[in-house]
Amino acid sequence: MNQSHPNEAQLKIRVFKILEIAYQNDGELTTSIVRSHQPFTLTVTSNGTATLTGKAGKLTFNASEETRSIGFDFKFASLHFLGTQNSQLRYSASFTIGFTNVTFRGNFDVEKFILKCSGLLCIAARLMKDRKNKIDKAIQQSLR
């Protein structure tokens, strides 16, 4: 009940994880949107409905597990991504939690992200016992 505001690093992990759910739902469409070199958006509502929209199409999926991790009073998230350049995906994010907002910008390596199941995340998942916390930590270290 008395949780404090998630900070930038915690929210960046949620961004990464929500995109990961998009890949799990429709890897082909998500890859087309993310790698189109065109801007795209991601919105998430309070009930966890996420919508990824780009020139290549639109994908709606459930990200409620992630929104619950953000906080009981999560309201809305709006993310604007610039097209991928030199494998780097840059974005600007705004999260509405209660009646306060948290905004930040970030970027990550798309190639590493797409290939993650032969890389960082899968290795972490296989080797580590405390899967969730340690994967979050591994993601955090790979983000800027």
């Binding site: 009940m1 008395n2 404090s4 505001h5 709006s78 600007s92 705004s94 009646f99 306060t100 910008r105």
Partner: protein
Amino acid sequence: MKNLPYIFILLISFAAQAKDNELYSAFKQYSDITKHAETVLPLIPFYSEKQYQSFELYFKHENLKEGIDTLFSRLQFPSVLHNEKSHNEIINKDSGCLVVSGLSQEKKRVSVYLGFVRSYKWLIDYINIEYINDSDDYLNTPICDNEALMKKRMENWQ
């Protein structure tokens, strides 16, 4: 008597400065009451009504409708600014926007944008905590609109 015009100018400049800082003063008043929040936090179930009344002095009523027991920790947003560096504000009749910038506890640059509405006093209607990217600067002009702020930041990135 010869110095009278200078004294007059000095008084006017003090008055203008005080007026310029009225949103910041409202923020500081609120910030001061949250400084002891950590000691009060475990007592919330017993103090909720009292706390609610005190928060009502600083926030637009609609923003508190979810109940103080769920909102309390979120209302400690001033603690994000561990080391305050600057502030700037704009007032337009019955609304205003203040930005207070500084460093977070993790030494990350951060700005808090606060939208105010004029009631019997200035009440907080909007809060945005912006963690500032390494390639960006603090904004001199406050922006109390998420989408407009994101758009401005993205323009710098193009």
